[in-house]
């Protein structure tokens, strides 16, 4: 009885203390202070950020697969070198983001294992196939363009390590978008077949790209607290609209048609798009997109086939450490 009573009291104290600390924490956020790894933070803030940053990291790594598919078939050496550099950047982005996620207390190994076990998600967009070279142009132009739209506000996110990682990522993404758009310009200035290839890629990617911004504001589960904590600065629909407004003139320049016959420009100059098919989004998230199984299989294979390298590096480091200790003892 006594012990139990004591325990209850302790829990209550902690609750009170946490409430005071949570208020202090929110005051720091409201004052635009950055939260750093060793600062006190509510457990839910830590959990939300670990989920978001690690999903972001997984997306960068899985995002290497659809583009890696075209490295050996790039049409010129210049394009091949650029695509290689871009895919290498995506890997780097994944690594910056894993490092930021780890500062919240999960190990890299745990985060990667959660992804390989299918417990952690990655961006739905990478579950679509890259069928032609024009898909590589479209990914750079639209997928990276949408990512930039999402990521620029994250440079001011309340969590310091995430914000700093995003600043580096955004600098590099702008090369990605420009190399993609250049591919599209070349195709659209080329033969009828090349232009048709560009149009076909736009037709297939347009709607999945709009879905990248997440569910509409009315149904998004994470938005409210994320906004209060200044993890999120703009709503999904606001960012989506910004992206559409920026992209329509770029498509017009290319002479391509956005596959949305219902699209109209309103009096304020905003391009209003038609209803998005959210059942497709849910299906892809649930694992039933065109490439979900391929992507997971490729990641697992790479992880398993790399196991001997990790083991060898660890064994070599251990051997050297033992030798140093032995020499020091002599």
């Amino acid at each position: 009885m006594y012990t139990q009573a004591l325990n209850t009291a302790e829990t209550d104290d902690r609750g009170l203390e946490d409430a005071a600390r949570a208020a202090q924490f929110q005051a720091r956020i409201d004052a635009e202070e950055r939260i750093e790894p060793n600062d006190w933070m509510p457990a839910a803030y830590r959990k939300t950020l670990t989920r978001q940053i690690s999903q972001h990291a997984h997306s960068e790594i899985v995002g290497m697969l659809p583009e890696g598919n075209w490295i050996t078939r790039a049409p010129t050496l210049r394009r091949k070198a650029a695509l290689l550099a871009k895919v290498q950047d995506e890997c780097g982005h994944g690594l910056y983001l894993y490092a930021a996620a780890e500062t919240l207390g999960s190990s890299r190994e745990e985060l990667v294992d959660a992804m390989l076990a299918g417990k952690a998600k990655y961006s739905s967009i990478f579950n679509y196939p890259t069928l032609t070279w024009a898909d590589i142009g479209t990914i750079g132009w639209l997928v990276d363009g949408a990512a930039i739209m999402n990521q620029i506000p994250l440079c001011r996110c309340s969590y310091g390590p995430y914000a700093r990682a995003m600043i580096r990522v955004c600098k590099e993404e702008s090369f990605h978008q420009r190399q993609g758009y250049e591919i599209m310009v070349m195709l659209c200035r080329g033969s009828e077949e090349q232009k048709a290839m560009a149009q076909d890629a736009l037709n297939r990617w347009w709607w999945p790209v709009l879905m990248m911004f997440g569910p509409p504001d009315a149904t998004s589960q994470h938005s409210d607290t994320s906004t209060r904590w200044k993890i999120k600065r703009f709503s999904n629909d606001e960012l989506r609209q910004k992206f559409v407004d920026a992209t329509v003139p770029q498509a017009q320049y290319l002479g391509l048609t956005i596959p949305d016959p219902g699209m109209t420009q309103d009096a304020d100059g905003h391009w209003r798009y038609s209803e998005i098919d959210w059942t497709e989004f849910k299906q892809v998230l649930a694992g039933n997109g065109p490439c979900n199984r391929d992507r997971m299989a490729a990641r697992r294979k790479a992880h398993e086939e790399g196991a001997w390298v990790r083991e060898a590096a660890a064994a070599y480091a251990a051997k050297r450490a033992r030798r140093r200790t032995a020499q020091a003892a002599e």
């Binding site: 750093e36 950047d89 780097g92 690594l95 660890a314």
Partner: protein, 95 residues
């Protein structure tokens, strides 16, 4: 499963002659040689540096953020340490 977690390293880069090494991020590697190579690949893909330091994260001793008030208060209350505290007659000009 038996492999232990790969150690964490902090990466510092000196971007130009005359500037100090600056912390740019962290990475995992089994030893110092691999950490340097990985730092080159991850943090200097666009000519960001002339020199890299890698330091085991476990070797860093950090101040406690909960005690930052006490830690830095002595600097807060000594405004006479700043040049702007002092008045120089206008006739003297820039000093």
């Amino acid at each position: 499963m038996a492999t232990p977690n790969t150690p964490l390293w902090e990466v510092f880069i000196r971007s130009r002659n005359g500037l100090a090494h600056k912390h740019v991020g962290s990475l995992h590697a089994n030893d110092a040689t691999m950490a340097l190579q990985a730092a080159r690949d991850i943090y200097t893909r666009r000519g960001e540096g002339l020199s890299i330091w890698v330091v085991p994260s476990s070797a860093i001793t950090a101040s406690d953020p909960a005690e930052k008030g006490m830690m830095f208060e002595p600097a807060e209350s000594k405004i006479y340490r700043h040049p702007t505290f002092y008045e120089v007659p206008e006739e003297v000009g820039h000093m």
